[in-house]
């Protein structure tokens, strides 16, 4: 998946047309009081002013820890939940402004693979039916759908003879392959992969990653790859956007971002991932964050990372901290070669 064409280390305008764009996406979930009359008492700021472009044929990795809003972003892109504000453009049209009928047609182009292979397949349907379902929904099954399902199952590495079995008879990796087959049935152009391998054992995970990689090349797919696992994203993504508490804090080409991270959070994230290499792992520099994620219902003012930021705590003076508290840092290039949302961004080499 290391398509050389997308390397654009200078942060200039994308060389290729974006196939999917998100502009200033915002999603607030209402927090309601308990009791008979459930008044709205606040908002969970799940996604806050998120913008990105997904280029044709590339993989954009959306990484962050739980609660950072990455999965919500993925669902907003697919219009599976209603946005609070912002736009998602696909093929020049705002996705969330489409009529239900137009949206149905669009669903053929935008598909999703879910995280949990035990929950994402209907337990009462045989595998053949699960994979045929998208074709039936779009009235395409009668024109040779049966053959297509067989070939699709073979493509993802399953035996078509097993098509009349039920999901619970398959292992996690095989179920995830069924999920991929279902998503591919309509020949989408964009695939949103929401933690597609997080629930799988490593030896199984590699097979699914390779499959996704190959399908991308062969079918010309664009991937929005959502994951908490930096190693996996490093492996699959051409470009990466790091999210923290609903905001993108750093974005750039995969190699550049891992070699020269500029945001303290990205740095902490990278240094927290243990390397499966005893000598390297024990010799690494560590940047540890303290404390826990603040409540997304009441995010910190200014820079949302400041409450856990090692730089804020140890390196900055009183005057400099004031800026972090008051000013939300914009996501712009501050001399790192890619956009970083930190007033005091500074590159570090951690691997």
């Amino acid at each position: 998946m290391s398509a050389p064409a997308v390397e654009k280390g200078d942060g200039s305008a994308p060389a290729r047309e974006p196939i999917l764009s998100a502009r200033n996406l915002v999603k607030h979930f209402p927090v309601r009081s308990s009791g008979l009359i459930r008044r709205q008492v606040g908002d969970i700021h799940a996604v806050c002013d998120v913008s990105f472009d997904l280029l044709e044929g590339e993989t954009l990795g959306l990484v962050g820890e739980s609660g950072c809003g990455k999965s919500t972003t993925a669902r907003l892109v697919l219009n599976l939940i209603k946005r609070t504000s912002g736009e998602v453009f696909y093929g020049g049209r705002d996705v969330s402004a489409l009529s239900p009928k137009q949206m149905r047609t669009l669903r053929r182009d935008l598909q999703i693979v879910f995280q949990d292979p035990y929950a994402s397949l209907d337990p009462r349907m045989p595998v053949n039916e699960i994979v045929a379902e998208p074709l039936r929904i779009h009235d395409m099954f009668d024109k040779g759908g049966r053959e297509l399902v067989r070939d699709l199952l073979r493509t993802v590495g399953l035996k078509p003879e097993h098509g009349n079995r039920f999901p619970h008879e398959f292992s996690g990796g095989q179920r995830q392959r069924i999920g991929v087959a279902r998503a591919l049935a309509l020949r989408p152009k964009v695939l949103v992969l929401d933690e597609p391998v997080s629930a799988l054992d490593v030896s199984i995970q590699a097979g699914v990653l390779n499959l996704l990689d190959e399908l991308q090349t062969e079918l010309g797919l664009s991937y929005l790859f959502v994951s908490h696992d930096l190693s996996v994203v490093r492996h699959t993504a051409d470009r990466i956007a790091v999210m923290y508490l609903g905001r993108i804090v750093e974005t750039g080409p995969a190699a550049a971002l891992f070699e020269r991270p500029g945001h303290p959070y990205t740095q902490a994230l990278i240094s927290a991932i243990p390397l499966p290499d005893p000598r390297k792992e024990r010799a690494r520099e560590r940047i540890t964050v303290v404390g826990d994620l603040p409540s997304p219902a009441d995010p910190p003012s200014g820079c949302r990372f400041r409450t856990r930021c090692p730089k804020f705590a140890a390196e900055l003076g009183e005057g400099e901290r004031k800026r972090c508290v008051e000013d939300n840092p914009q996501l712009v290039d501050r001399g790192q070669g890619h956009p970083v949302a930190c007033h005091y961004a500074e590159q570090k080499v951690l691997i």
């Binding site: 024109k143 490593v202 590699a206 190693s231 390397l275 499966p276 024990r282 540890t288 994620l293």
Partner: protein, 375 residues
Amino acid sequence: MTAEDVLSDGRPEGTESGRRSRSSEAVLEVSDLTVGFPSDDGLVQAVRGVDYTLRGGEVLGIVGESGSGKSVTSLAVMGLLPRTAKVSGSVRFRGRELIGMSDAELNQVRGRDISMIFQDPMTSLNPVYSVGYQIAEAVRAHHDVSKAAALDRATDLLDLVRIPNAKQRLSAYPHELSGGMRQRVVIAIAMANDPDVIIADEPTTALDVTVQAQIMDSLEAAQVETGAAMVLITHDLGVIAGQADRVLVMYAGKPVEIGTAEDVFYTPRMPYTFGLLGSLPRLDRPSERLTPIPGSPPSVVNMPPGCPFTPRCPLAVPLCDEREPELEPTTDAEHLAACHRSDELIGKTPGDVFVTEVADAEALAHFVEESEELA
């Protein structure tokens, strides 16, 4: 938030970091441990003969995928399996046999000599008591001290596991703490009685990576403080690489390779270990093709004879189907592997052993054709 809260330190170089006092004396000896669970389909052989020796102060990492029996092994060591489980073999703590001990006798060992940290801290903490009370109770269970003294000790312990404002936290209830915080309380309880062995079963699996790093720090602090030996069970090879002195790889209820961390990571001698290492996407390298292990782990019910890895092994020969290989010393007496063809793996890389799976090109081409006709 103060500057002291921020821990940003470089680690000592090399594996023999010298941060732990280590003796060669064995504290825990497990030999030929087997565990079976009766089921509708027959006996589930969750553990099929595990042998290992834990020396004072060392960290033994146990890796394996789900269903490999790594957790059941430690539950058997602690005597925490349900009554229906059939356990045989021997587990000796400083020479005393633990298998067959009564619950009352085991309670004297558990918590004082051997303590355990589970994946989900909520299962080991009681939601209706404050954390201070729970730590103090753990101290008083094995030591005859006053309540006030036990609470003082609790404060020290919370400090040790790097919980900020330890004194105020004593009165907090588990649900008021975050997942990472709770796990640190569990670590504090585990070290309350200065145990000789700490068994940590997937201590960071449910947590985010930045929190995981914090917990590993606390765990290290706990180990240095108590001088305990540790069994660290995890599926994360990165955690093992960072923490373990020796590594035991489990597959289908049996150890298939054991050796120092460097031996296992740099010169593995069992195809399964190769497969695991080749399957890992790496942060420190530009992306390259992964070499997954084909197939799925076997069912441990009614296992056929022969090596359980045979169906997934690219090196399998007829012998592998006939006889299960024993765990035997390789070129190094401390590095053991269970593979008939272990010697042929010297100098190989995962890419040499495993082939990259490719999608069925013919099916893919058909699919592309058909889908274009449909659309």
